[in-house]
C-alpha cells in the first residue's frame, strides 16, 4: 500500500480528555485541532464512537496511540493495526502517532512506554515494526520521543541520532515532546541543547507541551501539572526553527477546567508568534 505523508499543518490544539468531551461537542472551542488517545476509540461501538464522530464534525483530529509496541522484538500486533486502520477510516485524522518505545514482549503488556537502548539491533527491530505499521495503515507514522528513567550502557548513539536514523530508514516523522526532552535530559544529567543536537527538526510534524513532577530520584513524566517554565523556555528556544507544525497542550491527570488549558494553548500561540517575529 502506498504510504502517505502527513500534511504540513500549522495550528494549536489540545489533547481531548473525558472531562472536556461535552464542552468540545457543544461549542466550537478556540483550537485548530484536537488529539485523542486512539485506544479509547478502538472499540466495536457505543458512546466512544458517537463521541469521536461528533468531535470530528467540529475539529481536525490527530490520533495518538500508546500501545503500538513498535520497539518490541515482537512483531507489531496485526489485530491492533486493523482496529486502528478502521478508526482512521472513520476519523480521517491529520496523522497517526505513537511512541519510540516498547510496551511488552512475549504476551506481556506493561501499558507503559518502556525505553529502548539506542543500538543498531533496537533500531532494526523498530524499523521493521514501523515499516509494517506504515504499510498496513497506508500512511507515514509520526513518532514521539520518550521520557526515560534509565540509560543503557549498550547504547551506541544519542537519542537524536537514533531518531534521525529511524526517520531516514522508514520515512516516518516526529512528534517532539518538549517536556520529554527536558525530563530525559535532566534525568540523565545532560543539557537540553546537547539532547537536541542532531535532531532532524525538519521531520517534526507535531509538538507536545506538558508538565511533569519531581519524583524521589528523578523527574517523572506525569502530565498532571501545568507546563512549567523550563519547558516553555525550551519551546521558545527552538519554536522558530520548527516551521509549520501543530503544537498542543497534553494533560492526562489532575485535569483542570477547560479554560485553564485553553489559556496554556494561547500561551503557546504567543510564544510561537514571538519566536517567529524574532526570527524574521
Amino acid at each position: 500500500m502506498p504510504v502517505q505523508s502527513p500534511p504540513a499543518f500549522h495550528g494549536f490544539g489540545l489533547g481531548l480528555r473525558v472531562p472536556h468531551y461535552a464542552d468540545f461537542i457543544a461549542t466550537q472551542q478556540p483550537v485548530d485541532f484536537v488529539e485523542v488517545i486512539s485506544e479509547n476509540f478502538m472499540v466495536d461501538g457505543g458512546r466512544p464512537l458517537d463521541i469521536i464522530e461528533r468531535v470530528r464534525e467540529r475539529y481536525r483530529v490527530a490520533l495518538h496511540g500508546v500501545s503500538m509496541n513498535l520497539g518490541s522484538v515482537d512483531e507489531v500486533d496485526s489485530g491492533y493495526l486493523r482496529r486502528l486502520r478502521a478508526l482512521a477510516r472513520r476519523v480521517d485524522p491529520l496523522w497517526i502517532s505513537d511512541h519510540v518505545s516498547w510496551t511488552g514482549i512475549d504476551g506481556f503488556n506493561s501499558h507503559d512506554l518502556l525505553p529502548l537502548p539506542y543500538t543498531e539491533e533496537a533500531l532494526d527491530a523498530l524499523v521493521a515494526n514501523v515499516s509494517i505499521a506504515q504499510d498496513v495503515l497506508g500512511r507515514a507514522l509520526v513518532l514521539e520521543n520518550p521520557s526515560t528513567y534509565i540509560a543503557f550502557a549498550d547504547s551506541m548513539m544519542t537519542e537524536a541520532a537514533f531518531l534521525s536514523a529511524l526517520c531516514e530508514r522508514t520515512g516516518c516523522y516526529l512528534l517532539l515532546d518538549v517536556n520529554n526532552i527536558y525530563v530525559s535530559a535532566t534525568n540523565h544529567g545532560r543539557h537540553t541543547d546537547d539532547w537536541l543536537q542532531g535532531l532532524p527538526l525538519e521531520r517534526v510534524r507535531q509538538v507536545h507541551l506538558a508538565g511533569h513532577s519531581q519524583g524521589r530520584d528523578m523527574l517523572i513524566d506525569t502530565h498532571d501539572a501545568p507546563v512549567p517554565d523550563p519547558v516553555w523556555d525550551l519551546y521558545a528556544k527552538f519554536a522558530s526553527r520548527l516551521g509549520q507544525v501543530a503544537t498542543m497542550i497534553e494533560r492526562d491527570d489532575h485535569i483542570p477546567p477547560l479554560g485553564v488549558l485553553l489559556a496554556e494553548v494561547q500561551h503557546a500561540r504567543e510564544i510561537a508568534a514571538s519566536s517567529a517575529r524574532r526570527a524574521a
Binding site: 485506544e39 522484538v73 507503559d112 528513567y149 534509565i150
Partner: protein, 245 residues
C-alpha cells in the same frame, strides 16, 4: 545481551517477577511503580462502586493481589481486570455482595463499547410459528444469578444514598445488563426470568421457554407469562431479531 533478553528481563522486573541487577534500580523503580499504579487505577475506575463498598484500603489490597497474580496481555486496558470479580468472590466467599457488585460494575463497563445493534420494537414481534422462534439478543446482553442484594447496593451507591445492609436472600434472583442506545442499563430479574433468559441466550425456542414455564405455572398462565417476559425484553431493547428455527 541481545535485545530480546534485555526486554525479557526488563519486563519481568517491571512486573515484579524478577529484580534485574544489571539495570539501574532508581529508574526501574519508576517503571515498576508506573506499571502497578496504572493497573490499580484501571481497577479502581472499572470497579468504582465496589471500591466505594469495600473502602479504599481493602479495595487497594485486593487490587494489589490481583495485579500480583495477573499480568496484562491485551493492548487495551479495557480487557484488564475481567477476572477481578471472580477473585473477589473467592476471597470474600461469605460476602457474595462484594463479588456480585464487582460483576455488575464490570458488566456495565463492558456494555459501554460493544457492537452497536438496533433492537426490534413490539410491532416486529411477528412470527408464523411461535413454537419454533428463537431470539438473537443485542451483543451487550449479559446476566447472572445473584445470592445477595448487590443490585440494591449498587443503585444506592450510584444515587449517593445510604446503601442497604448486605443480605443473602439466595432466592434465585438475578440481574441482566445491556446497552440501550448509548447507555448501559441493568434490571433485576426474578428466578423465572433468570431461567428463561438463560435458556433463550443459549438458543432455545419460544416453545422450549414455554415448556420451562409450564413447571411453575398452571398451563393457562404459561402463554401469558411467556408473553409478558418477551414484551419486557423487547420494550427494554434486548432483542435484535427473531430467528425461525
Amino acid at each position: 545481551m541481545s535485545l530480546h533478553e534485555l526486554q525479557r528481563r526488563f519486563a519481568a522486573s517491571v512486573a515484579g517477577q524478577h529484580e534485574s541487577t544489571d539495570l539501574d534500580a532508581r529508574g526501574m523503580r519508576v517503571y515498576a511503580n508506573n506499571y502497578r499504579g496504572q493497573l490499580i487505577a484501571t481497577l479502581r475506575d472499572t470497579y468504582a462502586k465496589t471500591r466505594l463498598w469495600l473502602g479504599d484500603d481493602d479495595f487497594d489490597l485486593a487490587a494489589g493481589r490481583y495485579v500480583d497474580a495477573n499480568a496484562p496481555s491485551s493492548w487495551t486496558l479495557d480487557a484488564y481486570g475481567l477476572g477481578f470479580p471472580e477473585m473477589l468472590e473467592a476471597d470474600y466467599a461469605d460476602d457474595p455482595d462484594i463479588g456480585e457488585l464487582a460483576w455488575l460494575d464490570g458488566a456495565l463497563r463492558r456494555a459501554f463499547g460493544t457492537r452497536d445493534a438496533e433492537a426490534i420494537g413490539p410491532e416486529e414481534l411477528v412470527a408464523d410459528d411461535w413454537e419454533r422462534v428463537a431470539f438473537v439478543f443485542v451483543p451487550s446482553v449479559r446476566f447472572r444469578h445473584l445470592r445477595s442484594n448487590a443490585v440494591a447496593i449498587w443503585s444506592a451507591l450510584a444515587n449517593e444514598v445510604m446503601p442497604p445492609a448486605a443480605i443473602c436472600p439466595d432466592d434465585g434472583r438475578g440481574v441482566r445488563v445491556w446497552r440501550r442506545d448509548l447507555s448501559p442499563q441493568f434490571a433485576s430479574m426474578d428466578a423465572g426470568e433468570c431461567a428463561c433468559l438463560d435458556l433463550a441466550l443459549a438458543g432455545a425456542t419460544f416453545g422450549e421457554i414455554c415448556e420451562l414455564l409450564s413447571r411453575p405455572y398452571p398451563s393457562l398462565r404459561v402463554a401469558a407469562e411467556a408473553g409478558r417476559l418477551l414484551r419486557s425484553w423487547v420494550s427494554d431493547g434486548l432483542i435484535e431479531t427473531l430467528r425461525q428455527e
